[in-house]
Amino acid sequence: MANKTNAATAVSPAKTAFATRGASARQKLLAFSSLVLLVIVFSILSPNFFQPYNLIAIMLATAVNGVLAIGVTFVIITGGIDLSVGTTMTFTAVMAAQTVAVWNLPVALGVLTALIVGAICGLASGVMVAKFKIPPFIATLGMNMLTKGLSLIIAHSKPIYFTNAPSFSKISMGTMFPFLQNFQIPNAVIILFVLAVLASFVLNNTIFGRYTFAIGSNEEAVRLSGINTDRWKIAVYAVNGLICGIAGVLIASRLNSAQPALGQGYELDAIAAAVIGGTSLSGGEGTILGTIIGAFIMSTLTNGLRILSVPQEWQIVTTGIIIIFAVYMDMLRKRR
């Protein structure tokens, strides 16, 4: 399909269009080939790396960060940022646990609570950004602390375990394909991929997606075209919040508990995944596929370095270098 669009562009007199499209494709290819390269290198360095159980471990480790990164990709494409996704995720997990484990309500209701709470948090950030004109960095930093504090208050600073609802952990750790004997993909991974496909479709084929890009590209022009940009921006933050709710359910289910102290730092991993995948922090550009690749690069790196017994401190250093390198490549591409 990529070939088809290229051919169509080349017909037009704008030769530069052809060249830059090539560059954009190269960037996506770069991210993907980096991932492939990582897998090959680790496979050579350690016999334990390319094993079904380890690949599943990588995917499972990607699930939560991947889901958060999908949500934050929408926000970043509008030219905004959300620093509250990690703590909002935790807050939704705590609320789900409160519903299921403390109030003894059905699991489905717990899931619903997480989604609604997430959407409300996102909506609040959106209103602060769009209506009160608070810079997204500050508004969501406030939301980060706010949700973190609320999580600790509600859970009395202690983990809440789903002892009364064993089925809750099945949401993440169960599998829809029990027949694949050695390769039982956990539901969390399947949910990640389904969400990715859905998000990608929404971004490219709906009004919502179109305005997400348009606002990031030139908000004033969108406003002058008679579109209520505030409302769409709020919607983007709300959808991101909803997706945090999904991540909250996944992590609570995987840990079979809500850990109120967890969450801070996840937002940076999610943003890093989006950026490595080619989403531009200045807005207007980004793909879900890129973000997923970015999330996989991060988890593959962590996993591989751990297998090679690289100390955790050095794993963090390496991730930092990778992020700087990815953004530098993006800058080079834009400078032309």
Partner: protein, 505 residues
């Protein structure tokens, strides 16, 4: 003749301190190109902004289709069939041409939430075909040339069923071939009965595209003429026929001294073509021209702020290489930017810090610690020499008046011992009283033996201050005039002398 689409009667608009429009008349018929001309600040843009709902009028009437209307917002203007194409295009670079055109009114599939990309592209293609524009609707706008982006804007405006299209200086970023292409489109639009309001600085275009011409001067209506019944000289004299205060004209004190700066065959892109000039000690050289003529670009290139393609620069007879502003400063060349707040001053910092900033290494001891006494002494000297009005050395620059801010910038360069000072629009955004002070300052600097290059778009200012006047148009120097004998008309003619005109003339 058909009924006019728009009739404007006795329109007035004031901004604090300026009467931008006074009793202005204007009308527009379907299928005509009505051009608005006037100097910078004559009120053209204000009139257009009122018609497109950006500003509100103070008094007067606007009739559309014979009925009085209120145009309170850009949306209201769109609903009335008035679209405007601003000088700065309002497009989303990351979206395709078709997506830009149909933003906010995308064709949708059942359900109303899903986009019908095929329909968007097909509709855009149909609009392009109607105007004979050769453009792929699927190309991202950021990858198009400015000329093509402009066409996307035009098509976007038309997709609102515009009956009136206002174009503000559409040709300023275009080259000759692109201008012709744009005119072709304008002719198609005219044939389809769209009324076009055209604003331009380029005098030759007036007679190529206009049916009628309305002249504004200092916010006043000077008259409307059929293009076939007037000529360039008449239009120019209507535009600039303002009396100048002759007594204020600068009298050079003694002979100008040696040549301090000589620029030979400077080239940079489209806006600096084969520019050569000299400046002498004690002289004020005026750079006249319309906005976008390339004057600022010349100054920036000489100053090393932008790389040059070719050319030679001599300071006091010696050839120098300037690749960076610090090279220029080393050779005694200073540049005072038009936008003081962005490029000239750290407005949040104190007067003393700003004055000493360019030359900080001379204010430190061997340990790298600043010597406040020495800084105070230098700053006080400058404050006295330039009579900068500030309550203290520690006053933040942002609390000073425009004129005094300008003086602080000058002080910065005097501290560096500059011999050549480029002033880019030194009085822009400064009130009348402060202007006098700036003029006095320029005269004093000249009599101190500095060589001054003053870029200004205000003709009276150029005439009043300059010993010699260099006029630029489209990157070339089109002529040099003696300051004591030059007239506004003579400058205007040179300032609008485009390459194509010279060939035909």
């Amino acid at each position: 003749m058909a009924e006019p689409i728009i009739v404007v009667r006795n329109l007035s608009k004031a901004f604090p301190g300026v009467q931008a429009l006074k009793d202005v008349q204007f009308d527009l018929y379907p299928g005509e190109v009505h051009t608005l001309v006037g100097e910078n600040g004559a009120g053209k843009s204000t009139l257009m902004k009122i018609l497109s709902g950006v500003y509100q009028r103070d008094s007067g009437e606007i009739l559309i289709g014979g009925k009085p209307v209120e145009i309170n917002t850009p949306r209201a203007a769109q609903r009335l069939g008035i679209s405007i194409i601003h000088q700065e295009l309002n497009l989303m670079n990351h979206l395709t041409a078709a997506q830009n055109i149909f933003i906010g009114k995308e064709p949708r599939r059942a359900g109303g939430f899903f986009l019908d990309e095929k329909a968007i592209n097909a509709k855009a293609k149909a609009l392009f075909d109607m105007l004979h524009v050769d453009l792929d609707p699927r190309v991202k706008v950021g990858e198009l040339t400015i000329a093509k982006q402009q066409m996307v804007e035009i098509v976007k405006a038309l997709s609102f069923d515009a009956r009136v299209l206002i174009m503000d200086e559409p040709t300023s970023p275009l080259n000759e071939a692109e201008v012709e292409e744009l005119f072709e489109i304008i002719r198609h639009l005219r044939a389809q009965g769209v009324g076009i309001v055209y604003i331009s600085h380029r005098m030759d275009e007036l007679f190529r595209i206009s049916d009628r011409i309305t002249v504004l001067r200092d916010g006043q209506y000077m008259g409307t003429y059929r293009a076939s019944e007037t000529n360039l000289d008449q239009v120019i004299s209507l535009m600039v026929g303002r009396k100048i205060d002759e007594s204020a004209r600068r009298v050079p004190k003694g002979k100008p001294g040696e040549v301090v700066l000589e620029v030979r065959n400077l080239n940079r892109g489209r806006l600096v073509k084969n520019v050569s000039f000299t400046v002498r000690r004690g002289e004020i050289l005026g750079f006249a021209g319309l906005m976008g003529a390339g004057r600022t670009e010349v100054a920036r290139a000489v100053f090393g702020a932008d790389p040059v393609d070719s050319g030679e620069i001599y300071v006091k007879g010696k050839k120098v290489v300037i690749r960076h502003p610090r090279d220029a400063a080393k050779h005694g060349i200073g540049y005072l930017s038009e936008d003081r707040k962005r490029y000239g001053l750290a407005v949040g910092m104190s007067v003393i810090d700003n004055i000493c900033m360019t030359d900080l290494p001379t204010f430190i001891n061997s340990l790298g610690v600043l010597k406040p006494k020495k800084m105070e002494k230098t700053a006080s000297e400058q404050i006295q020499a330039l009579s900068i009005k500030t309550p203290s050395l520690l006053q933040k620059v942002k609390f000073l008046s425009g004129g005094n801010q300008q003086k602080v910038v000058v002080a910065k360069w005097l501290v560096k011992n500059c011999d050549v000072l480029f002033f880019d629009e030194p009085t822009r955004g400064i009130d009348v009283g402060a202007k006098q002070e700036i003029y006095q300052l320029l005269n004093e600097l000249a009599s101190l033996g500095k060589a001054i290059v003053m870029i200004s778009s205000e003709l009276p200012e150029i005439l009043r201050m300059s010993d010699r006047i260099v006029v630029m148009c489209e990157g070339r120097i089109t002529g040099e005039l003696d300051g004591s004998t030059a007239t506004e008309e003579a400058i205007m003619k040179l300032a609008t002398q485009r390459e194509t005109m010279m060939k035909t003339a």
